[in-house]
Amino acid sequence: MPLLTVDNLSVTFTGDDKRPVRAVDGVSFGMDEGEVLGLVGESGCGKSVTSLALMGLLPSRGVEVGGRVHFDGIDVRSLPARRLRDMRGSQLAMIFQDPLSSLNPVVPIGRQVTETLRRHKGMRGKAARERAAELLDRVGIPDPARRLTEYPHQLSGGMRQRALIAMAVACAPRLLIADEPTTALDVTIQAQILDLLGELVRSEGTSLLMITHDLGVVAGLCDNINVLYAGRVIEASSRQQLFANPHHPYTAGLLGSVPRLDAPRGEALTPIRGSINDTIDWNDGCAFAPRCDHYTMECLTGTPELVPAGEGHQHRCVNPVNLDPGPADADRHGHVAEGDNVR
């Protein structure tokens, strides 16, 4: 049985004076015990909102959530608030992009870690402090006993993210959600944190849901990857398949847009035209069609479904690219570079 199943999750923000905004528009995926899953997409694709919905952290006012979320067979969305709070931190844990604003600035690191231990494990006093020091040591914070008494501002960005990870894994959660955990960090610190995360989840058997915009980050860390666009999963696959044979033109376009450090110099980038604002409603067709070079009339008439293409590989496109693996044809880099025009 999968550890987490998300079925047709939708999140709509209904502001007072604005048109409702559908941030997540029917996202479905599953995660096995111990799996590392990447949720990849650009800003506005709904990846962070999805994670907040999974944790039940969205505000109740002005937000409509639909669909089902099952964690370990339990329907999370119908859980009473109390039970959900018990579950958060002990079974489900989350780390965020900005470690400084996720930590309480006026409480020492040690108290913030022991608080989690007391809340979920009933540990107190010396035992809790010793366990907290062990945890800081585990995430690679040197001199943990001293660090426990320090405040968040006394730690560097990398150390804060380590402290946050220590708090998240304090109760050995079964699922860890990491929302852009390294985006605010420098590349050498990012390498340290990714190394730590990968090592932690593999040795403890924790499942990790990695949310990021960086294709490079998921390439090394994740078993499987879901690509999101305009609130829907548009491609889901194992990492090997996804990078070798991206079927959705958006995925292929993303890969063609990123300069690769190891690519021969002078290789031109093939950008996707337009911006995330150039989109149509999923009900009218494919949201990516306005930016796509392969769109046809069919893309503009019905909602494309997620269809399987090979083992564990699904895409939501009626004119997929790279369907025959083999000598790469012109398709992968076949996009015509065009500037976006002002509409």
Binding site: I280, D284, Y295, M297, L300
Partner: protein, 321 residues
């Protein structure tokens, strides 16, 4: 050709589907967008309705007031010492005050004076404060050593003003000018000067560190022009909001000063504060006499506050998409 038509069809269809997302051909400035947001905010609408009604009354008061506000037309019917008052009746909708004057007429004309005090005092505070703050802010933004020194001098002066209680200023001015409407205006206005000055200067300092100011410098724009056409216009938003909110406090403060006897002693030109002061002596016998001006002050102040808060919200960059 079939392929050709298909291409035209799909381009048309795409244009149709994305059409609703296209904005108007003309660009909408922030000011226009802010105004558009204000029009949709219930807070702004209720504030505007109250303020509008108040303004309307103030303007038409002399023409619609049924009687002369200072004339003691029914002086004999009211005997405050024997606790005899006249309540609302056919010819006097709000009843009579303690001297037998028509309360409704006094309320209407009082609105005019209260508004005058509020607006003039706020304008005074705004002008003087914005000038001091603007000069200080511009001096710092110009980035020269003398500018920082000039700023320090102005700001210490502002700090001194802040240290003197508004009431003390009012008493001193009343001692010089005698109790009058002008005294109240000047006193209330002076008390607002440091607030406006500090606000504008702070706002200008924040803007002068923004990226677009750096960009203008890199473009080769002269410093005075940057201050004039970039820093200053972008700093005015919070000051204007503050002015709206100040109108509310100015009306309340003016009422308070009138109540304390610094206002216009002439009974022919009533204002709500003075009416409240008069009514307080008969609070037991005729509480409604105090209620009319008190409620009017509260509602008017509420109107300006609502409007100011709504403006603050719609100008807040965090709420912008």
């Amino acid at each position: 050709m079939a392929l050709g038509t298909d291409r035209v069809n799909k381009v048309d269809r795409l244009a149709e589907l994305t059409a609703q997302r296209d904005g108007d051909a003309e660009g909408a400035s922030l000011l226009r967008e802010t105004f558009g947001r204000l029009r949709r905010s219930p807070m702004a609408i209720s504030g505007a309705v109250i303020v509008g009604a108040f303004l309307f009354v103030a303007v038409i008061a002399p023409f619609v007031a049924p009687y002369e506000p200072g004339a003691q037309l029914w002086g004999r019917e009211v005997m405050p010492n024997q606790n005899v008052f006249v309540g609302p009746r056919g010819e006097n909708w709000f009843g009579l005050d303690h001297l037998g004057r028509d309360q409704l007429s006094r309320m209407l004309v009082g609105a005019r004076n209260s508004l005058l005090v509020g607006v003039v005092a706020t304008l005074l505070g705004f002008t003087a404060g914005a000038m001091l703050g603007g000069v200080a802010g511009a001096a710092v933004s110009l980035g020269r050593a003398w500018g920082r020194r000039l700023d320090a001098v102005i700001m210490r002066f502002i700090d001194m003003m802040l240290a003197i209680p508004a009431l003390l200023i009012a008493v001193s001015i009343a001692a010089i000018l005698g109790p009058s409407l002008t005294t109240v205006m000047v006193a209330v206005g002076l008390a607002q000067v440091p607030i406006f000055a500090r606000l504008l200067r702070g706002s200008m300092l924040a803007q002068s560190h923004s990226d677009y100011v750096l960009a203008a410098t890199a473009l080769g724009v002269r410093r005075p022009r940057i201050v004039r056409s970039h820093i200053l216009p972008n700093s005015l938003g919070p000051v204007i909001v503050q002015a709206t909110l100040t109108l509310a406090t100015a009306i309340i403060e003016a009422a308070a000063l009138s109540y304390l006897g610094f206002g216009n002693p002439d009974p022919a030109t009533p204002d709500w504060g003075a009416m409240l002061a008069d009514a307080q002596r008969f609070l037991v016998g005729a509480p409604e006499l105090a209620m009319y001006p008190a409620v009017a002050i509260i509602i008017t102040a509420l109107g300006f506050t609502l409007l100011g808060e709504a403006m603050r919200e719609s100008l807040d960059p965090k709420l912008r998409k």
